[in-house]
Symmetry: C2
Subunit: 328 residues, 2 copies
């Protein structure tokens, strides 16, 4: 984790860090790094949340754990964003309780980047913050996902699609059809709603933001991760199956490195709980320093793009128009 700070500072020297953890562990690790003076401060936390701890248990220990104190630093304005590589469920529960949802947002959504064949990653949400979502939730996710694509990917008017089991207007659940009907009318929003997409299109690069409920989103994300691993496992088996293929692998290695880089989760690190009054970023648990630095860069772009207020003002716009239509 701390190696990521060093790396992030090299790219962006204006960053400042509050490192929350057990002082006895963090201090020597920080000293070994020798970061420029004044770039990092330590905030002692006597305790930490375990990886397998239940969110309900974690909530009780917000005042003593590194996770709880990092989120509190965002709440108190001491930090612009919190970054954690810990227990996702606990991070979600503690963030929600401490920061509360933004005005106009009923539920936060776990938002992340997925690799594609296109020129940039895909923004996808919700990836599992909620089990069920209604049409209003999906519309809010679309607004939040578009704000993420604008601030993190630098897109002006992101193309947004709803994940469905077909692309015809009649397909899908009532929630999805209703969300599509609302988004189709909302052309004043800074996004281009482009209808439905299916699971096989996620990596094609023909959409910027894919919106779905947390259940389907989590299943799609994990199925994509599992399938990528499955194919690369088969590839490894194939390359090690004979002397000839081993020689072929040796020759192809530099080129295959491209594949590895493209699929490496460290290059798409920086999931975020959007919809809260403050930024909480989730890093992969096994992220390398490069992965952590990428997550920090995502957080910095969201802070500079003022994503929280962006979403709030987009939603204000949405409600103003929705009201105008209703009262017409």
């Amino acid at each position: 984790m701390l190696g990521g700070l060093e790396r992030a500072l090299k790219t962006d020297p204006s960053l400042r860090f509050l490192v929350v953890g057990d002082q006895a562990v963090v201090e020597p690790a920080m000293a070994a790094l020798a970061l420029p003076a004044g770039t990092a401060t330590i905030l002692h936390a006597p305790d930490s949340i375990a990886g397998d701890e239940k969110p309900s248990q974690a909530l009780r220990r917000a005042r003593t754990t590194s996770m709880g104190l990092a989120i509190n630093a965002v709440k108190e304005g001491q930090a612009d964003a919190a970054l954690s590589a810990g227990n996702t469920g606990a991070l979600m529960a503690m963030s929600k309780l401490a920061l509360r949802t933004m005005p106009g947002i009923d539920r936060p959504a776990l938002t992340a980047l997925l690799p594609t064949l296109g020129t940039h990653d895909l923004v996808m949400l919700d990836l599992g913050a909620n089990t069920e979502s209604d049409a209003q939730n999906l519309v809010q996710f679309a607004v939040m996902g578009a704000a993420y694509a604008r601030t993190v990917l630098g897109l002006k008017r992101p193309r947004v699609k709803l994940l469905n089991i077909g692309t015809e207007e009649l397909k899908g659940t009532d929630e999805i059809k209703e969300a599509a009907a609302i988004l189709r009318e909302a052309d004043y929003l800074p996004l281009k709603f482009d209808g439905f997409t299916e699971g096989d299109q996620l990596s094609r690069g023909n959409v910027d933001v894919v919106v779905t409920d947390g259940f389907s989103g989590n299943i799609a994300l994990k199925t994509a991760e599992g399938t990528a691993r499955f194919v690369t496992d088969l590839l490894r088996r194939a390359f090690t199956s004979s002397l000839r293929s081993k020689a072929g692998f040796a020759l192809s290695k530099p080129a295959l490195h491209m594949l590895k880089v493209h699929l490496d989760p460290n290059n798409h690190n920086g999931a975020v709980f959007l919809g809260l009054n403050g930024l909480v970023v989730k890093s992969h648990g096994s992220a390398t320093p490069k992965g952590v630095a990428n997550a920090i860069a995502v957080a910095a772009r969201m802070v500079r793009g003022d994503i929280v207020n962006q979403v709030i003002s987009d939603l204000d716009e949405f409600r103003a128009h929705a009201f105008a239509v209703t009262s017409a």
Copy 2:
């Protein structure tokens, strides 16, 4: 399609075919194949269902189209199973209307085989026959999926899991938790219920049957297909990126063929609408003769295993026990 008949007959000479289609097209194609005398009969159908036709439209043309007449042949006992490579939505709607659901089954489920790292394919259902499923539907899918794994894969007591967004008992929707509670008690059924699984485990080979609602199932299936294609597309890019990698590819080609074979949908062909009073098998639209022959083999195994009556008697057993528990 017809090339698949020839291939299937070579492996299993006891098969008999009723080929439903436009006589003017089918007759010369059959003559060119020169199948053994008496193995195939033609049933003339003046019309056919288009690939993009709406199910509601297709339903009105059941009496004149090849799809409608093939399903009707199953209903009338002239055929033991129908096989189609056509429009999935139309096939589902026409099959449901003509064959009706089995006693004890509320909704049919689209069931298919997915490749894994293990010794056999994974049985997964529902892959999109329904948009929503309640706990009873999920339990019925589990019984049907286990019967499929017994008759098609030859497993004695298939391991069945429910697809979820976590493996802890508290995770997921109410429907999933309720279905899990029912299945945990149903140890008299010829299946071993093994709790929850997640999207990243589908290809690991550690489960035989994965049960899910049609929405999540369709998204998982298509995401898996899309991701496999994504990784192989990246692989192709990598191999063609330099002369050196092209040479590496040439050397590795025989070994990489294994990967291609493992992922080839033709080797996992034979999706079926389980839960109807009759067997309707769906082939991939782009299946090769080998793929069609595999789908025919799956159909033949289900007919010989009497899967329809297997499912009916498993469900009778289930209801008898459920009643015994309720009235105790």
